[in-house]
């Protein structure tokens, strides 16, 4: 479905779809009117290149990359960039098959063979490129622990309590474990209704990675794209957020923008250094605390979910653009470089916050720009 038809759909079905489509078509339109001229005129002018670029992959970064594409294409007539949000797995597959010029993925290329497979993603991608394939972190998406409990505006959760809520050990909101970390908050006797993503998703993977890293004793299941806890499954982010909205006592994990759009309560997370509310800055701190798993210009990050750094919000996912370090087709390589430069630019990153993403922290953003500039 292209942007045009999605836009039409959003306007026709109007109110009923507010929850579902709120951040898809409309979000990028609202900003684009004022934005492109600003980004074109500011201190870092967009380097333009002509041609067509095809990308495919993660749907978590869909709105961010669509915004980036709109801005880039407005600034650079003659450039066409297509992004098909079919999922990280599909994107990597197409990239390795040489069908697309870059892939978007919720996780960096795997350097070990996946379970039940013999091939290594990173090696396959390198082979397809004829040069090392680089993982370049571009968009960070915070995951909110969103809840709907009447009369509770502020909720603090520790990793252990979060794990116990999501695996069904804690069943009611007035459980002593929750009360102990929320002094002064009147908690109702309502049953906790956990909602999870019924489809396999990177959000589930990153959330369970967080739980098993930060509360290894309470969350023993192996992290993965498929939900292993308790609760009731709904389709995609729109489904879980509207599920929580409709159920008193509901709780879920969902991308920040969906929690905001549905006006759900967002829990503060206390990893051990005091409760941290979800904000772009707090997420940036957690990204800065990540270790670089890749070497040189390959910026695959290893997030430290259990980070005790004060003021860092630890539940997030980082989505990458996976590109060939040396493009086979020089024209496409120039275009890739130009596009990623504008995507990684500070003003573009700041703008992403309006549509529910967190900007890359300055130190990582500088590294990303270095990597992008090294593309050839």
């Amino acid at each position: 479905m292209n942007i045009q038809s999605r836009r039409r759909l959003a306007s026709v079905t109007g109110i009923a779809l507010v929850g579902t489509f709120a951040i898809s078509g409309c979000a990028s339109d609202n900003n684009s009117s004022a934005a492109p001229s600003a980004s074109g005129a500011k201190s870092n002018p967009v380097n333009c290149a002509k041609g067509t670029l095809n990308g495919e992959g993660s749907s978590a970064q869909k709105n961010a990359i669509e915004q980036a594409i709109t801005d880039f294409q407005t600034a650079c007539p003659g450039a066409t960039i297509n992004y098909n949000p079919t999922g990280s797995g599909a994107g990597i597959k197409q990239f390795i098959a040489g069908q697309v010029d870059f892939a978007g993925s919720d996780s960096a290329l795997k350097t070990k063979p996946a379970e039940g497979a013999t091939n290594i993603e990173q090696a396959d991608a390198d082979k397809a490129c004829g040069s090392p394939a680089w993982n370049i972190p571009m968009v960070t998406g915070p995951i909110a622990v969103a809840y709907n409990v009447k009369g509770v505006d502020k909720l603090i959760l520790t990793p252990a309590v979060t794990a116990k809520i999501f695996d069904g050990t804690i069943k009611t909101w007035n459980d002593p474990a929750i009360a102990a970390i929320n002094p002064g908050v009147t908690l109702p006797t309502t049953a906790i209704k956990v909602f999870f993503r019924s489809d396999e998703s990177g959000t589930t993977e990153n959330f369970t990675k967080y739980l098993s890293a930060a509360a290894p004793k309470d969350w023993t299941a192996k992290p993965g794209k498929k939900w292993t806890g308790k609760g009731e499954g709904k389709e995609k982010s729109a489904g879980v957020s509207s599920g929580v909205k409709g159920a008193e006592g509901g709780i879920t994990y969902v991308e920040w923008s969906y929690a905001k759009d549905n006006q759900l309560g967002i829990a503060q997370i206390d990893n051990g250094a005091g409760p941290v509310a979800l904000s772009g800055e707090a997420v940036g701190k957690a990204v800065s605390a990540a270790k670089q798993a890749g070497t040189g210009n390959d910026l695959a990050l290893k997030l430290d979910y259990a980070t005790k750094e004060s003021g860092a919000y630890p539940i997030l996912l980082v989505t990458y653009e996976i590109v060939c370090s040396k493009g086979k087709d020089p024209a496409k390589a120039t275009l890739t470089k130009a596009f990623l430069q504008s995507f990684a630019a500070a003003d573009m990153q700041t703008k992403l916050q309006e549509i529910g993403y967190a900007p890359l922290p300055a130190d990582i953003q500088a590294k990303v720009l270095t990597s992008v500039n090294a593309l050839s």
Partner: protein
Amino acid sequence: MPSITGASVVDHVRDPQGDGTPQGDRASTGRLGDRLFGGTAKGAGVLVIALVTLTAVFLLSQALPALSKDGANFLTSTEWDVSGSHPRFGIANLLWVTVASSVIAMIIAVPVGVCVALFVTEYSPPWLSAPAAGLIDLLAAVPSIIYGIWGAFVFGPHITGLQSLISKLFGWLPFFDNDTGGVSSSGTIFFIGIVLSIMVLPIVTALSREVFAQTPVTHKEGALALGATKWEMIRTSVLPFGKPGVISASMLGLGRALGETVAVLIILSSLASDTKWSWSVFNGGETFASKIANNAAEFDSPQKSGAFIAAGLVLFILTFVVNAIARVVIERRKAFVE
């Protein structure tokens, strides 16, 4: 008798009486238009058969490798773990949810649909019947995602009361046990059954209406002349005449209910993987179609897609069997009517 378009069969075939008019199947003239049309019709028929066969072959060829690796019983297991080197998956849950939701839909849609059709053909004043029929046909044109969103956001919140009432009265039946612990509100098999019934209703109604309208006037007038009341007339002449039509309408509707994807996906809550088996219709789950649609974005290995295609194959067979049964029933009924 030479003709402009060339030699006609009539020129060659002479029966003993010398009468040159061929009868029955031999009535074909062998002219170009005749042969063209016959060929096209035959081609279309072969095409349909080929399509179905090829679909079955495709499903089988994709499913078999995954099935051979399956560590659990494919038909009776409720597990669904398709990644890794030791996949374990079975369709018991999917089959139950698919069948249960469709059966609920049919239980509601068929009687209501038949009544609506009877109203339109027999009871309504003439000025009302045409617009009413049009409106019903319009219902069939509403895309299923609209039903899904309407069900989830508008209708759903009102159904909880009815559900708890039923489970209070009939909770001793395993089907209406409300104590499943899994699903909170409107994401139940029961509720999706109701929404499906609304989606199926126009199909059942429109076809039944067409058949009822074909009832010979002589039958109806005969019944009335013998002193039957209106209801007796309907029972003795309209309903028996329309039965095969109603059955095939129901089967078409059932086909839609079994295969419905988007509305189910939006409304029905799925269950956590280790939830205990329950016969209750106040539980959640996934149907074949919704499960496949929900996971299609993450088919990253042939084994994974194979497992889902195997589930699709079961849905294919299920629909096939349902339709075959319907054919048999209809053929039998026809004998009584004609």
